[in-house]
Symmetry: C2
Subunit: 318 residues, 2 copies
């Protein structure tokens, strides 16, 4: 019996600061409808999918609060949940989470085709800074607005409707950190869902990395880590010119060989789709990346034992 | 002052089982001469560069012993060391090491332009099996012939002649394991030297991975791990049809963006060359991959705490 699931990535074009919540939610629902019409059982939306990427500004408290979800679901997003259950399709979506006791996280949830939340993840690799950079128009204040994720990297065995695939979630910058993937790989992950908002260039003009290089980096990270953990991966962007700051697209679905099997062609709302056969993970998991047979953790100590770099001394070792 | 070093990769075509040691050493010296003539200060040779890839056979003791180096250097390889010192060029070379007390490793050394051994590494990620696979013409017996490396993943600050670059070594299969790269990255590695012998296809006809896919995998692993650790990498193959078993080529030099800047065009003896500016590592090491600012080791525990996969249960997490 084939263990296959048709998965869609729902890339979104930009969401401007003055776009209404209702307008943006209608776009998500239109993408959901299109994915369902194409036979998908799971659709992956971007990071912070309901709003603009607000950490690019130092915001006053009222506006900042407006970007957070006080519960999930909540009245503002309920129509997405309702429509998905009606269509019998599940989804991954990223959002700004405010907990009942006042904590803030950059989070994602995996919602089953029955509308129940299957798993939650809170972003661990927060980029940016706590303090705004003086004199710069655009900021990256994720470390100010969010706490570090406190749920680890949980993988779950998905519902039977999703072929029981062992599924994990990452958010944006997490995908560049092999540690995050490996913790999922060590749980036997067969599908990793990722939403992202990645700058296409430095909007303050501070460095020379262009959109082509940044898109290359984004794909390279997903392709290699999918390969090295023998898992499918679905990486989905919010793309295009958002409030004057460019975001890369490059949404893609990657097989356990690290090969891109579906890829967005635009910087706009766009569905990409692929049939993910989870049995294709077996070759990598049992041969090249048979962890039990080949990993040597006794030599990996610095990965958990230190945070930053410790350079060797001037003396060369013998 | 620019911190730059011209590095060569010395890809080698196949070395057959009945090729004499002297013939093979002459090829290494010819490649060394060509690299020096092109201005390189360091040349990287393949894994097990002095012989055929002998773990592909179950061998009787005398032949097996003939592939190991009882010391480094030793009379059989001394001319390479002598010529390198004469040319004021250093090298990385992989070899089968037999220690004075009878241990066996798949090793590499980094030799300075003064002929002194700067660093030694013993391969940690040994592929293959201890027991031969019954009825198969070709084996992969690295786990039988070698002990697991016992030196960790040491990086050293190279001699001033090499711009003081923090340099690490990996061997073949190690390059597919992000843990190995990260331990080097956590030492601030700016240059990672890798020799390899990678099958172009299953010589027993057992699976369908072809040379193109395997070459893609080899490059993907090097490019992504160079990027994610903001280091230069030089990955060098023994290539072509060796005793009836195909080896991929694809030798390449990769910059800290993960971009290939030099690449072999053949499956034969071939020098590739690039000027490695180690200051190009700084962007990655201080921004995107500023480990001190962004790593969260408290969530990486399974990487050192377990060897193999532990799958989640049938119950889905809330």
């Amino acid at each position: 019996m084939s263990r296959s699931l048709r998965v869609a990535g729902a890339q979104m074009g930009p969401t401007q600061r003055d776009d209404s919540r209702a307008k943006t939610l209608a776009r998500l629902i239109a993408l959901l409808d299109e994915a369902a019409a194409k036979g998908a059982g799971l659709v992956v939306f971007p990071e912070l999918a309901f709003t603009t990427f607000f950490p690019r500004w130092l915001l006053e408290a009222n506006e900042l609060a407006s970007y957070f979800e006080p519960a999930m679901p909540n009245p503002a997003v309920q129509p997405l949940f309702d429509r998905a259950r009606e269509l019998n399709i599940g989804f991954y979506v990223g959002y700004a989470e405010k907990t009942p006791d006042g904590h803030h996280f950059n989070s994602s949830i995996l919602v089953g085709p029955d509308g129940e939340i299957v798993s939650k993840y809170r972003k661990i690799h927060l980029p940016g800074s706590v303090e705004p950079r003086a004199g710069e128009k655009y900021q990256q204040l994720e470390k100010r607005y969010f706490e570090y994720g406190d749920l680890g990297f949980p993988a779950v065995r998905a519902p039977d409707a999703w072929a029981g695939a062992i599924t994990g979630m990452l958010i944006c910058n997490d995908r560049r950190w092999p540690e995050a993937w490996r913790v999922l790989g060590l749980q036997g992950a067969e599908l990793v869902c990722i939403g992202y908002n990645s700058a296409a260039y430095d909007p303050n003009g501070g460095d020379r990395e262009d959109a082509a290089l940044r898109t290359f980096h984004a794909k390279l990270a997903v392709q290699s880590n999918a390969y090295m953990n023998a898992t499918w991966a679905v990486a989905v962007a919010k793309a295009g010119d958002e409030d004057g700051a460019g975001l890369i697209g490059g949404s893609c679905i990657v097989d356990p060989n690290g090969v891109i099997v579906a890829e967005a062609a635009t910087l706009a709302d766009e569905i990409i789709i692929a049939d993910c056969d989870f049995d294709l993970c077996r070759q990598g998991k049992t041969k090249m990346f048979n962890f039990e047979a080949h990993r040597r953790p006794q030599w990996y100590g610095p990965i958990t034992g230190q945070v930053g770099v410790v350079e060797p001394g001037r003396e060369t070792a013998g």
